[in-house]
Symmetry: C2
Subunit: 314 residues, 2 copies
């Protein structure tokens, strides 16, 4: 598994332990649930696209949101249930498939991702296209898995609907269409935010909401988690733009400087580096403020995730 460096936070040690455990569990869950035997090398391409890499921000966000609302003992870290693992896995599949397709020559034409050759470099474009398609289908299959989906069908329907809307034409795919249309054009801050709210924000929001839904959040708690995740999503994107402008390819595990090279509008190109950083901090404050509507004893994981997003180096 790729080692991940964690920036220090107020609860660094506990966070490190928690995240290391959850990442181990998530990796094992994904490895056990991805197909091992699909025809003609398709399973290998799917596994390569998902396993052994990535920050796993979306699954961790789902797990943290679940912990913030799930009924039970407030002191211990509750053991994730089948349904929250399925939700966490499904959002990661959608993210992974979007990267595979986004890296194709007809899109961003990138050769490096998560520190490895991209899927189409390794397996060919046609197989990469199919692997992405199959990963999207698998996400929805996971959200309808027995026995839990048969026992709680209304929850499964809610999860499928959240994810389908986040991934679709008004969410992630729509944001990518705006992104394509924006290359080489000047857009204002409102248009940039609209693009990112769809392109990355929608799936981050869905990750948090799906975790909260899996934890049986009431409507007030679901709204608090949603407000948190909207601000977090924006902060995440601003930090992404800052890292693309300032990071190096090795630390990022993907090609640095590619937004500028592609003449894409970013928060850095629009606001400048320092103002972009300040904007990310302001979104962090807004995300943390939203958590005040939840029991203080339960929100530490969401607080930690937010700090991690802002302070990350890749």
């Amino acid at each position: 598994m790729t080692m991940i460096r964690f920036a220090p936070t107020g609860t660094a040690l506990a966070w490190d332990d928690w995240v290391a455990q959850r990442l181990r569990q998530m990796e094992a869950w994904l490895a056990a649930h991805l197909p091992a035997d699909a025809p003609a090398g398709l399973a290998q391409a799917m596994r390569y696209a998902v396993l052994d890499g990535g920050k796993r921000l979306r699954p961790l966000l789902a797990l943290a949101a679940w912990e913030a609302v799930v009924p039970g003992d407030e002191q211990a870290d509750p053991e994730p249930t089948d349904v929250v693992w399925a939700a966490a896995g499904a959002v990661e599949l959608i993210h992974a498939y979007s990267l595979v397709h986004d890296d194709l020559p007809c899109m961003d034409n990138d050769v490096l991702r998560r520190g490895k050759p991209t899927v189409h470099v390794r397996f060919g474009q046609a197989q990469a296209l199919l692997a992405g398609d199959a990963l999207q289908a698998l996400a929805f299959e996971w959200l309808t898995a027995p026995p839990w989906a048969a026992q709680r069908p209304a929850l499964a329907v809610a999860l499928v609907r959240e994810l389908a809307q986040a991934a679709g034409a008004h969410g992630m795919a729509g944001g990518q269409a705006i992104d394509l249309a924006c290359v080489g054009r000047r857009i204002d801050r409102a248009a940039l935010e609209d693009m990112h709210r769809r392109k990355t924000g929608a799936l981050l929001l869905a990750s948090a909401r799906m975790g909260a839904l899996a934890g049986q959040a009431d409507s007030a708690a679901l709204e608090a988690v949603s407000a948190y995740a909207r601000a977090l999503g924006l902060a995440f994107q601003i930090v992404d733009d800052v890292l693309d402008a300032t990071g190096d390819t090795q630390a990022l595990g993907k090609t640095a400087g590619k937004d500028a090279a592609a003449d894409k509008p970013t928060y850095v190109s629009l606001l400048g580096l320092e103002a972009a950083r300040a904007c990310a901090e302001a979104q962090l404050e807004q995300a943390l403020a939203a958590l005040q509507a939840l029991p203080a004893a339960r929100v530490q994981r969401l607080v930690d995730v937010a700090h991690w997003v802002i302070r990350r180096r890749h």
Copy 2:
């Protein structure tokens, strides 16, 4: 709407009337439920990929299977419900997205589909890729639409699961991976059948099963519909191969002779033309035999669909 020529069957007039009405209704349903306003031209590409073309075999199969099992008056054509329209629409979206991706230069590199320029020829490869991705997500969104999905969540879960498995790594995407791997290689009949059982058979089977599930089929009826659809799916593919070898591009609305040109194994290349035709007829008989487990008064639409599949000219 593209006019479709129907080959004569034993109940030609009634079938023609039924299918014309259902196609009008389906087209209106699709037009009303596809996004009109997704960002940056994405909605237009999605609508172009789905509307105004195609035989609509999969939706008609879902509707016919629904009619064969749904409780009610056996004499009249029952009026389709919201849930069976959603099922019929969703299988067509999965089919449409698979065509968009299959036509891309990194796959079959085709420029003509349903008598029109392919989506990437018209909108560019990146937009075609995104439109396909968004269509897949939309299929699952449709299967979880209120109010019916909230009232019958267990049915919605069953429909999502059928479709996700049919579209995924062990179904359609897996079949396409085999197809890619087979170009220029000799495979035997068992391997050819396995490929088609996944590549086209899985979604045809899901179409019939989803229609039957929407009609509250009991397990015996569901199994009869499934046996019918498995034989129909194989017959469909054999006829497809015969038409590719014998048809002309204008009648097909897609490039004829491309399997041979691409050196792909087909039933015609494996068995010869006459044996392939005989094999399709044998599958037709098997499909019709499976229907004997259902009430004779209810199966006429499925009988007609089967004859249509075998006798079609495009």
